[in-house]
Point group: C2
Chain length 193, copies 2
DNA sequence: CGCGACGTTGATTTGCCTCAACGATTGTGG
DNA sequence: CCACAATCGTTGAGGCAAATCAACGTCGCG
């Protein structure tokens, strides 16, 4: 069942009655996204918050020179959206697309508001979710400020060994904030030890 | 009254009855921190979440070479803590100290849990608070990935013109992820236009 | 099969850092 | 209140980490 993983995710922090689960499900939609398909384009309005059931997606920007910068990586059991655009219903700063064929569960802004109203426990759930996301980003900021490219790469493969397998080097470099050429050099250097 | 600013901050997102305010106040402590005084040291446990009534504080790390990296800047009407340490009650990764004489309102982890239990509306308040903090950090990550040092500096003074006045260049450079020497060069270059 | 994206490698350039010296400012103890 | 130390900001010289540019082999996909 599509919602199984989502329920297990939620039950880590709050407990739902059957009736609550049913109400929750009635506010959701599911979607299948194939590789390279866009969930969101810069300038569009982010209509949904997305829970990843399977697969892998990224949120990224493209700068003046056409370079991509991955702001957020999501795999199964994570959430992904352009939160600012979602909350304010204004044009998105990010692109979101799928790096692998993915299944997602979506909730719209209005439905999420309804959910908060009908089942206030979800305030708690998302409070904890954003708390954790905030901490993870704080650590990433700290690493970007204090580590060299090599150290950041080593931290990345230490922290996300499974992710390293699933991403291309171009994607990893774009997440780390270096060029693919330089990542290739680092890897060669590290291999020669 | 010390709690006035905090109540106004909170009332942006939730509405409290008088009895609720009283309960809330009973769970808080106030503290005065003088310039350069530490609120938290790396390795200590972060016992409180801190609301800044007046003044200015920073959260930062020190790397192997002794360089400081500012992860979080807070002025009046903001919150500051080492959230990970606070939530898990494990040793902190950050130092927190005051850049100006500051007044803060503090809540301990246990009292915050009590607050969530007794007044669930606070789940909503902190959900929104962390949501906004998450968005702000996401933007900072994106800028660190996609902008040059000069562009980041210009963005900083555009976004926080009042903060620029209150911080030393050393502090600004440490927030931007560059050296004070290089910031000085950038400023000279920008002035010659 | 052929095209386009990817990863590798080398040569060169550049953005930012380190080191060092100096004047100005701040803070502190006598 | 002054003297002295410490920190800060500026400037210049030189160095290094990472970027750019370019060429080439490989692979996956249409």
């Amino acid at each position: 069942m599509d919602f199984e993983l989502l329920f297990r995710n939620i039950s880590r922090h709050i407990t739902l009655e059957t009736a609550e689960k049913d109400l929750f499900i009635s506010l959701l939609q599911t979607k299948r996204v194939r590789r390279k398909e866009y969930l969101l384009k810069q300038g569009d309005i982010c209509r949904t918050e997305n829970f990843i059931v399977s697969g892998c997606l990224r949120a990224y920007t493209i700068d003046e020179e056409g370079q991509e910068h991955i702001v957020l990586l999501g795999v199964e059991d994570w959430w992904i959206s352009d939160l600012y655009s979602f909350l304010t219903q204004t044009p998105a700063a990010f692109f979101i697309d799928a790096l692998e064929e993915s299944e997602i569960v979506q909730i719209t802004r209005n439905n999420l508001e309804t959910l908060y109203e009908k089942i206030p426990k979800f305030e708690r759930f998302f409070r904890i979710l954003f708390q954790n996301a905030f901490i993870a980003q704080q650590q990433r900021i700290n690493q970007n400020l204090s580590l060299t490219a090599e150290q950041r790469y080593l931290e990345f493969i230490r922290k996300y060994p499974q992710l390293e397998q699933r991403l291309t080097q171009k994607q990893i470099s774009s997440y780390l904030g270096i060029t693919p050429v330089f990542l290739s050099m680092l890897r060669r250097k590290l291999a020669n030890r």
